[in-house]
Symmetry: C2
Subunit: 142 residues, 2 copies
């Protein structure tokens, strides 16, 4: 088989994803942020680098990044989704006062061996979020 034939045969049905300025700016901005921004916050932050970016593009690219496993969504007791570029296994702490969201290491080694089956349904993962009051909020309202 020639090199050209191999190349042709190798990627026949590959739905290729393009790398664009916008996609990389969104991903980079998310990587650099510590506070699990919402799509709206990310939209504003990205405008610093790519002033003409649109909300639609931010949402579309976030969906792509999530689909590719490069980004994960954190759903909290809030109206909007928040994003996290740390894809390794970890949990979260959410302050119910100010919605601050913190990454938390899974301290319990047991957490690793999560159940693989629940009443016959296949378990593929889990999300664990601690809820509470952060120090500043506790100080403000004792």
């Amino acid at each position: 088989m020639t090199g050209a034939a191999a190349r042709r045969a190798a990627k026949p049905t590959t739905p290729r994803q393009r790398s664009t300025r916008q996609l990389e700016a969104i991903y980079r901005t998310l990587c650099e942020s510590r506070d699990h921004p919402t799509a709206e916050q990310l939209y504003h932050a990205v405008r610093a680098c790519v002033p003409a970016v649109s909300r639609g593009t931010v949402y579309r690219n976030l969906a792509k990044l999530v689909g590719a496993g490069r980004v994960r969504i954190v759903h909290v007791h809030d109206r909007c989704a928040r994003y996290d570029a740390r894809t390794g296994p970890h949990d979260h702490f959410l302050c119910l006062g100010c919605t601050m969201l913190l990454d938390v290491e899974s301290t319990d080694g047991r957490r690793e061996r999560t159940r693989t089956r629940i009443r016959g349904h296949r378990v593929e993962g889990h999300v664990l979020t601690y809820l509470g009051t952060c120090r500043p909020c506790a100080a403000a309202r004792p």
Copy 2:
């Protein structure tokens, strides 16, 4: 102190909550449902008993019930909140294929003694949701 004076002094700042046909219908409907309905689903279900009920009333009463601890919200990888009238401690299983949501007993006794402090922030509770594929969805897409 007279009886009347005592009564007046006894509940000076009590913000009393009234029991209405709508509130009870919403709560009863939620108690009877096994599938963690959304506000919209509840709205339609309640209309069977109280045909003139409005969405606003459903949302307002759900908020009251949550505030009173009679109902809890489950936030999943979905756009809308889902409600649960089982307030005892338990976890959930969410099917990523069809969004079916299942109550799951907390099997691990250790889960009870949840951490009380994370990096100085007070922890008051936690939510744990298993993610996976339910049997029907797994059968449909192997």
